[in-house]
Subunit: 363 residues, 2 copies
């Protein structure tokens, strides 16, 4: 089977960090005879600059065909004034929606060598390893009606949160499956106390549990309390299951807690394709960081670890994924640090390229 | 002018912590000749047990007449199975909605004596004093259509986020007014990158700023990034302005960061009444804590500080509010601790009543 990969570096630091992933991919081809058929294309502001929209139909079609899409980052102040439908983010949302990538996996992991970077106390975060499963193709990001409408002489901003039973069911299954390979615990978060969509969410998650995963430990928490508990004692969680909007906030909070924001990858998975592999897109959790773009300062690790997730979830190369993750850990343990990781210890930061060099050497 | 107060202790620890507020109120009457005309009534599960609904019409009518409502907490596992419309929370939401309490003020303040309680590092939180202004009567908590509907043979959970220009305008004004009395900075949070309601929010806030508060420093942040920044370096903020749903999550996260959750009060303010005082309700940020209810262990400080906010915002007794706040700080500085505040230092916790005693003595 060939391994096909579509790389979309995007905006800001996207291209820089993706350059290091290219070198890792080459290493696998040369040194481990693990070859990838790579195409590169545009997304976000870069696509808008070239085609006048944040994702061309041709790129969308390509994304549907490959085994995995690897995305850098989208957005930047240059595009702030664009019409809503043309904003860089729409390119990303179109990929998620049309590929139907309903399960967004966001590991929040604290790298031991970086635990002191967290604004939280060391004992609260060291060793932390939780997985947030965020529903990614429905909810308030996509529900209709939406827009800014006129009503009684004034404008009204409108968005709709909608979840069908089937949408909740499938993402719940993803969370339970993951939990079985981890610590067998799922905590589902919504606002069932004030939102009917939360009531349905809770009910369906419970039903999937009772019928298909009775041995996984399941709890439910209101999302606001969940945010609190994440900050208080995140290690109480294993897998957190939540909707698109709450998942956006909670996964960002969790990511920041680890102190390892520049390090965190994500995977967005859909249904299996004909070849048995899931539709998939991988992207770092960090954004396009326009303030440091083009300076060779960005940390490529989140993007490299996103490729590791691709090895694991798309190419069934779990051993190689672990090899890459261990190489990253070794480099961090050795004290190699990009600028974002410079703390009280001092020392000189390495460039994006030098971080790539170090990881290649560790491989 | 008489000072009228409706006290709704509610469920769980509500009645216990409210008992201490009663003693503080008595102290003001006797020692400072500041008298309150107090009525007490039921809300939440307690009201459901008595009347079969979480807020009777008579109580609602009373709430509309008084200068201020002081609420303890609502909810508990006993009521979990109740129909949505009968849940304790609906009582609270009805009060907010019918009194039109659109501006929810949630100070997140770190008490110096308690800084070590935070899961965050001391330097990140010590001295922290930010104010979250949450829109409280609109957005996805109240928008129509809502419910669990049948569609194509399956159930769909539905909620609607709606914001009118006027709703955004008035709460933005509250935030700017507050900022003027504080550090003159407002950061407004939404998801204008994916939600049209966020676009309108951003636009109206900017307009209110440019037209009426050009001297207040205004910034905009996506709510997920806002959650991150709250965890990373909360002291960058002064006033945070946000909608009902984001405000629910972000204010809880902010509260937890301070390590002073059992200490944090809130005020919910509406339009001025005939006597010039705003419609107002005050409540602690913590919940009903059913696990410790009835044991005399609960920390009454958040509820007492909610009364302090009432002194300031409803009764124009800023000096007396400060007196009460200083008394609380003194007691904490002296090392008096309820069970929730017991840390590594050790020592024996005081009861709810003893904490009340200590604060009365400090007054
Ligand atoms: C860029 C933006 C559209 C996106 C989102 O809100 O989903 C981002 O914040 C994320 O979490 O992946
Ligand atoms: C009890 C609940 C309805 C309420 C809310 O979600 O607004 C609470 O979480 C709060 O923040 O005051």
């Amino acid at each position: 089977m060939t391994n096909t990969l579509l790389i979309l570096p995007g905006d800001g630091i996207g291209p820089e960090v993706m350059a290091e992933v290219h070198r890792i991919i080459d290493w696998y081809g040369t040194k481990r005879d693990l070859k990838f058929d790579v195409t590169e294309d545009l997304v976000g502001g870069a696509a808008y600059d070239a085609h006048g929209k944040p994702l061309s139909d041709a790129t969308m079609a390509k994304a549907q065909e490959v085994d995995a899409v690897l995305l850098g980052a989208v957005g930047g102040p240059k595009y702030d004034k664009l019409d809503f439908s043309l904003k860089p983010e729409r390119g990303l949302l179109r990929l998620r929606k049309e590929m139907d990538l309903f399960a967004n996996l966001r590991p929040a992991q604290c790298f031991d060598a970086l635990a002191d970077f967290s604004s939280l106390k060391r004992d609260v975060v060291s060793g932390l390893d939780i997985m947030i499963v965020r529903e990614l193709t429905s909810g308030i990001y996509f529900g209709e009606p939406r827009g800014i409408i006129e009503e009684g002489g004034q404008r009204v901003g409108l968005n709709t949160q909608r979840y069908t039973e089937a949408e909740i069911d499938r993402v719940a299954r993803s969370a339970f499956e993951l939990a079985k390979k981890r610590n067998n615990k799922v905590c589902s978060m919504e606002k069932a106390n004030v939102m009917e969509s939360g009531i349905l969410w809770r009910e369906v998650v419970q039903k999937v549990h009772d019928e298909s995963y009775p041995d996984v430990e399941l709890s439910h928490m209101y999302a606001d309390a969940g945010g609190m508990q994440l900050c208080r004692w995140p290690k109480q969680f294993d897998v957190i299951l939540t909707d698109n909007l709450f998942g956006d906030l909670l996964s960002d909070v969790a990511a920041m807690l680890t102190g390892s924001l520049g390090m965190l990858p994500s995977a967005s998975l859909g249904a299996p394709m004909e070849n048995g592999r899931p539709k998939a897109m991988y992207e770092p959790v960090h954004g396009s960081a326009p303030d440091i773009a083009g300076q060779g300062k960005a940390n490529p690790i989140a993007c490299i670890l996103s490729f590791a997730m691709a090895l694991r979830y798309s190419f069934d190369e779990g051993t190689e994924a672990t090899r890459l993750e261990k190489a990253v850990e070794k480099v961090l343990g050795d004290g190699v640090r990009t600028a974002d990781l410079m703390g009280a210890e001092g020392g000189a930061p390495v460039s994006t390229l030098q971080m790539g060099d170090a990881i290649l050497a560790a491989l």
